[in-house]
Symmetry: C2
């Protein structure tokens, strides 16, 4: 049978299940990626599991999120991560070395491999002919320990690229076009595979831009073929030996078919406050901006910065505009300096920041109250910038640079200048100085873990009871993101290794009495929440499941779930159920009390069962989507209990 | 009479008092400088005073402290400051343009002028042949409004520089030597004036290094002559027309005489946790470091970065060392890029940060728990780095770079390499893009002030009563810094425009129950504190007076005061008194109740009076040092009341 690239990657790594879309499959994982905001928990989980040494081919821990060192907390976490990488045999990318996705692509990504990462944009490395997927931290911990990764077999969504990009239109506009067509849940349950004659006209880094924001469509992954462009990229990284060709078989088909004619695209922009809120730039032209922000894993490439430098060369940013430059790696910064682009960028009025995620995750660079920020980042969920009622637009670097010059959102074609011809460096500098190699196993076993005073263990969690009586503490609408469940940003993230502290921020964007109310109910059986469609979209951070669980959340009843958050709920023993009849959503109100009886048997014996609304004499049919394996995890009260139990059984 | 440079500057600006050391004099102020951490309050004070337009020759507002934008607070303050500069006719140096002191030196400093700044390191511009002094914000507000600045006529401390600096010893070691000899209060009541044959071998920026840390000696100012080196510097800044020669008259004398033979100096380091704790580097060699930090107004020059770049070129920082590069201005960053130094600095493993004050003021880059940080910054007071129990050493860039390479404190002479020959750029780039010019008066009058939601007015304050009964809430030792009274840093500074919020951090380093206790006493007459020598040294931030006053502090009884903080106490209506007999300090304990009677008359009628210790049957003689003008201010309850009152009287 003729296979597409995604099917080949899955077939090569399949250890459980059938390749039928919707069925749970188990995949071996070759590589993992963790970043610091999620990684401390992963390392604590590895410790709890008693891991001796990583079983993967390559596992890398990046420090790119929490670079602001206001006090001891972030730097202590960095040291803890460093000690854990030494202990468990991982790569360690030091603070300031760069954003995980482009650095992983440069140093470790290999065509034909699987990559699992505790960051929702892990799919970015799908640009390298990999099956690269975001997951919760504990899934990544399991992968490092050599366990398969379980996921629903995706549909493969073939997107045929034809034509070639016109001047002033770039890779970011390709993925914004897909978001314009399909919105933020268009990719749920799917791997987006790009093919067709347009692909070869996109550089490896252009493909990274497109692959990265597959996360914004909710996709399981993004896959590109591995061709000459990938070989060229690897050669420039002194890694040509890691290249293999990988392409779809002749006659391969896709579960879903789509075409984008690159020649027909125009500059696009996502309006506040969703990456799916896409319109042509011309429709919002003239909107004044306060900030133009260049960087992030959604536009990490040399050209993405160089083109801005060419556009602002010998000019000056408009009065009152902050042009924020966030290099994505030290290697890229060095190349921009060496090729002369930085010398044009800074005098035009730029603020040059440290290499890292920075404002993309709300780690600094928040906009002022009531002002518009235009960013090349992947996301603009409400409050993600750090400012509560923010107004963030997403665009290509070309649009962001044109707008920085005029002070208002501007279609770059209106500048009436020649489209800059960006030459990639012939011999780009390769920088491995801040990426520490794993220690050999004997040496690793001697290394102690260094735990600073802010690093707290994960408290024990109870099994799922058979009878639950839980009030609905929150009723929410559609598309609630993990940023709204538990914000990222510089205010919150320093507590990521301290569950009791970070829990205080849970749902504060939605209802700031949630924490107090949940704490009152915590020892009386806990509570439930009700949500709409696409519940838990966005960032993969598992704290968005772990913190509510700590506060007593036992059941999430929604119209449907975003994939990674659903998996995180399962992993931490929160029962995720959906309405059998979506209209039942209307029957429920905040304060209603849900009664579950015979719950352990119900979830073991089928997918559908009923929940009583106490005092209302009504019952609502609900459905779970757990595999047999996940049912066992849920009954135990989460994956940590399940792993512990399995170890104990094995030791008997 | 033959005058030294300091006397000339004072004589040229004298409007009140006699030039007798210790007497209060009034000086006209030509230029002012405010930074964002202190500036918002200054702008609110200008508004409260009803200022129409700045009366100075040049007043500049810099945004260099609070560059971390975690949420709307800092960027809202930036916009408020921008709007205030437009309204009042000031220069506005945008966020990311650079640190106030070097940028002011490059763009606005003029030999022969006076400069008053709401930053304790304002004295740095004394390198330009100016009388440059740090002061509380409200003093600067008064100066912008055209009022004279009142200060005690300083003694002039002549420091004769002879010889020339050996290889591996630089300007920072000169000022560390002075601190080694005289400690952190050696300069109190003095202007340090450098002269002699060694001066001409120091560049303008070298002199900046030395002048800047006059603040660490507690000096009123630092003065250098204006000679050919200053002319050359101004020429490079396209401002040769601003140069005048300024030198001591032949036969001029100094109140105090001292000599430093530059040829005899060796690399020095200030050990934790005081800039006065200076020893030769060789005495602490081998101490492991976690961080090497390059930058700040204490080493702001091109050469200070270029020499580090040369030293680490084609090498790699030691494992586990964070080499943090903090450019001091965008102009300097551009020149480092253009001259090729940045291309050597980054690949060696540096973390390049935004131009600004950054970690020097605890705005990021805090060290991990229990680790040593080696910095080229001016200060290492406890906790200033952001980490509570920190361990910060201060040194020259040469020592910091050598230590970054070895991972431990290292005398740079031990590297056994050739001392790099740093060539300053022939035609350095001048960058005025982010320094906005003042508006003309007619246009300025049309500009509104933009106040974000976190900007709160200063509450009304009561007059000084004649009878006070106040318990001693804290008894402290010597050298308490304003960082300990009210910390700076990223956690605290965002509240600088919100007095009720920022007050919660008052004295928390010393006693974390202070806030709660003071709030209980606030409406019952308030409280007093007792301190030792050099009380209130360090940063000039007036919040360190305003916040305790807001919490009810009425009297500070200490052995002696640091100059700027003393002035801030007066300005905000806290009575600063010293022990007539220092041994009485021992008699007082926390909890003792001080009774003042006939207080208004006492401070009006003399300098000494007595305070009763309630229930102990003892009284203690105390002394104030207020001028007649300051007595009036104190009686009114502070400068704001005094100005308001004067305006009302004038309007009658």
């Amino acid at each position: 049978m003729a296979l597409n690239v995604t099917q080949k990657l899955i077939k090569d790594h399949l250890v459980a299940g059938e390749m039928t879309p919707g069925e749970e499959i188990g995949l071996t994982i070759d590589q993992t990626l963790t970043q610091d905001a999620t990684g401390t928990l992963v390392m604590l989980e590895l410790e709890a599991m008693g891991l001796d040494y990583a079983k993967t081919e390559a596992s890398a821990q990046y420090v790119d999120h929490n670079l602001i060192q206001e006090d001891n907390k972030n730097p202590d976490d960095h040291l803890f991560l460093e000690s854990a990488t030494k202990r468990f045999g991982l790569y360690y990318s030091r603070p300031g070395n760069g954003v995980s996705h482009p650095v992983h692509m440069q140093r470790l990504a290999k065509p034909g491999k699987t990559l699992l990462g505790s960051d929702s944009h892990t799919c970015a490395n799908g640009c390298m002919g990999m099956l690269a997927m975001g997951a919760g931290g504990i899934d990544v911990a399991m992968a490092i320990a050599g366990e398969p990764f379980y996921v629903k077999m995706p549909e493969v969504w073939g997107v045929k690229l034809t034509g070639s990009l016109p001047d002033w239109v770039s890779a970011k506009d390709v993925i914004l076009e897909l978001l314009r067509r399909h919105d933020v849940k268009g990719g749920v349950g799917k791997v987006i595979e790009y093919y067709g004659p347009g692909v070869k006209r996109l550089s490896a880094m252009d493909r990274h831009v497109i692959a990265n924001m597959g996360a914004e469509l909710g996709a399981t992954g993004t896959v590109f073929p591995s061709d000459k462009k990938i070989r060229k990229f690897l050669k420039q990284q002194n890694r040509e030996q890691d290249w293999i060709e990988l392409k779809a078989d002749p006659g391969a088909t896709y579960d879903i078919q789509e075409e984008i004619n690159l020649s027909k695209l125009e500059p696009l922009v996502a309006k506040p406050s969703s990456p799916g809120n896409v319109v042509p730039v011309r429709e919002v032209e003239g909107e004044p901006i306060y900030q133009s922000y260049i960087g992030s894993s959604a536009n990490p490439g040399f050209r993405d910065f160089a083109i801005v430098a060419e556009m602002v060369k010998n000019k000056q940013v408009a009065n009152g505009v902050s042009l924020d430059i966030n290099p994505t790696s030290r290697q890229m910064l060095t190349n921009l300096v060496n090729e002369g682009y930085m010398a044009n960028l800074i005098p035009a009025g730029s603020r040059l920041h440290q290499a890292g995620c920075n404002g993309c995750i709300g780690m600094g660079q928040a906009p002022a109250t009531g002002r518009n920020s235009l960013r090349t980042t992947p996301r603009n969920f409400p409050g993600r910038s750090g400012t509560k009622e923010d107004s963030v637009y997403l665009s290509s670097p070309e649009t962001a640079a044109a707008s920085a010059l005029t002070g208002e959102i501007t279609d770059p074609r209106k500048l009436k200048i020649k489209y800059p011809d960006i030459k990639l460096p012939k011999n780009p500098k390769v920088d491995t100085n801040l990426l520490d190699q794993p220690l050999a196993i004997e040496e690793a076993r001697q290394m102690p873990l260094e735990k600073g005073p802010n690093i707290a263990s994960i408290p024990e969690m109870l099994e799922l009871p058979s009878t639950l009586e839980v009030p609905v503490l929150l009723k929410m609408g559609d598309n609630i993101s993990t940023d709204e469940i538990l914000a990222g940003g510089a205010r919150v993230l320093p507590y990521r290794s301290n569950l009791p502290e970070i829990s205080k921020f849970t749902f504060e964007m939605i209802d700031d009495s949630y924490y107090d109310q949940s704490m009152k109910l915590r020892d009386q059986g806990g509570h439930a929440i009700v949500g709409g469609f696409n519940y838990g979209q966005g960032s993969s951070r598992e704290h968005a499941a772990l913190a509510p669980r700590y506060l007593g959340l036992r059941v999430a009843l929604v119209k449907d779930f975003a994939r990674i958050h659903w998996q995180n709920l399962v992993n931490f023993g929160i029962l995720p159920v959906t309405f059998v009849n979506e209209e039942d959503y209307e029957k429920l109100e905040q304060g209603d009390i849900l009664q579950f009886t015979n719950l352990r048997n119900n979830i073991r014996n089928g997918y559908e069962f009923s929940v009583q609304m106490k005092g209302k004499g009504q019952s609502i049919p609900v459905r779970h989507a757990l595999s047999d394996r996940q049912v066992e995890i849920m009954l135990k009260g989460g994956l940590i209990n399940w792993v512990k139990d399995r170890k104990e059984t094995a030791n008997k």
